[in-house]
Symmetry: C2
Subunit: 234 residues, 2 copies
DNA sequence: CCAAAAGTGTTCAACATACACCCATGA
DNA sequence: TCATGGGTGTATGTTGAACACTTTTGG
């Protein structure tokens, strides 16, 4: 039974948009699609909230529809609700940002949406306020990644220190000193060095490491200051 | 003209809830009300999104309705949308947190809502998921206040260093060494020391300071590490 | 004159940064 | 053998944290 006080109120369309980010070894990338109404403009992957869905659940469904991936990193970014943000009808959009392992995605890609990865630093014009969403997502990623180990969501299980460094350089769009970087990263004692070396990329081969999430869970305040403080822009 | 693709979609009620925080010189406080449907339970101040309103605009209206204050600090916290969060009807709520100067409020308070300040560390049971909203707001306040000068939103224009320290101690629920605190805070060079001393509180009287927002605008990365890093919980 | 709060400096340890050379290997 | 990327150590300055005494003044 709905009370009168509720009945009198306007209702609104509620959409979700996902900023899906990946890392290809060189660049930080965003996955864009050409969707329904606006076939001329690149946009974020999105969809409508369904009646019995939670918000994060809906965002996960939308990421799954495009990438075939489950259990990806997902974090609510912000709700966007300017009255005219969508000229067709008033829509409240809740933006989620999502980090995926780009190699996993390659194997599961759905062709239905003509999806394409773009460097986050060279994006085309985007639909509605999707450009704002991406800017905000990058800001959030930088601030989060400086204090939480979410970078590993973008790398394979096994990765080398040079790969990890390239990733952080892509996120912060700058370069780090490799000696200081490796000292800092190893001093956290959250990486396990494997016996195996990467083959085929460099002649010498770099050791693989894996991130130890159990150790991370066991201690708090662990992931502080991996990035030189002078490089952090908040 | 609305496209069919839009017409087929469900629409939802959209509400806004405000976590209004203040500081009384000792404790960090949250302003709660007893509202409409649920007169037995304390809840956050909230309201419905109106058809031509932006989200932040609506949140500002709601804060104004309760406190009579305009130009308060307002930041979107998160959207809450679990299907059954409101048992009466499915509602998406967008929570904003807001910082007010508690003395300004005293002079403008509206009696209509039976509002009351509660210490954030001793809250009663709250309506729906409002308890989660407050927890999240506190987390956000801590993380934000450690790197941005938003604490001043909770203090009068003129404040003493002991007052500022008490504020940060309330936010982080801990104690700081006053020698280290004043050194750090003054080393930012964002406070102007006034000639005037506080009267009536202590015998000696503490100098008043004011926050120089122009200087803050002029430099970036300014407000880093006011809080001893060991005290920051993110 | 005394109680209560304000104000102030130093020492030590930890961390951040800058910087350059040798190593391993496939081609 | 050489070119390419991998890996490591040291010295210096800066910052963070711990710590105690003197000053002011109203009652």
């Amino acid at each position: 039974m709905m009370l009168d006080q509720y009945k009198e109120q306007h209702a609104y369309l509620v959409a979700l948009d996902s900023i899906i980010m990946g890392f290809d070894g060189e660049d930080l990338k965003v996955l864009l699609v050409k969707r329904g109404v606006e076939q001329n403009t690149w946009s974020l992957m999105g969809g409508w909230l369904q009646p019995r869905e939670g918000l994060e659940q809906a965002a996960a469904r939308i990421v799954f529809d495009l990438t075939g991936l489950t259990n990806v990193y997902l974090e609510q970014l912000s709700a966007f609700g300017e009255p005219d943000r969508d000229p067709i009808a008033r829509t409240i959009s809740i933006a989620y940002f999502s980090l995926v392992r780009i190699d996993d995605y390659e194997s599961k890609i759905s062709e239905a949406y003509h999806a394409q990865w773009f460097s986050i630093y060279q994006l085309p014009d985007l639909l509605f306020d999707h450009g704002d969403m991406v800017s905000l997502a990058l800001k959030r990623l930088r601030s989060k990644a400086s204090q939480h180990p979410i970078g590993f969501e973008l790398l394979p299980e096994k990765f080398t220190l040079p790969q990890l460094q390239k990733l952080y350089e892509a996120i912060y769009h700058t370069e780090f000193d490799k000696r200081n970087f490796s000292r800092k990263v190893l001093s956290m004692r959250l990486l396990n060095k494997l016996d195996e070396k990467q083959k085929g990329f460099s002649k010498r081969g770099a050791y693989y490491y894996s991130f130890d999430s159990n150790k991370y869970e066991a201690i708090t305040h662990a992931f502080i200051n991996i990035i030189p403080t002078s490089e952090i822009e908040l």
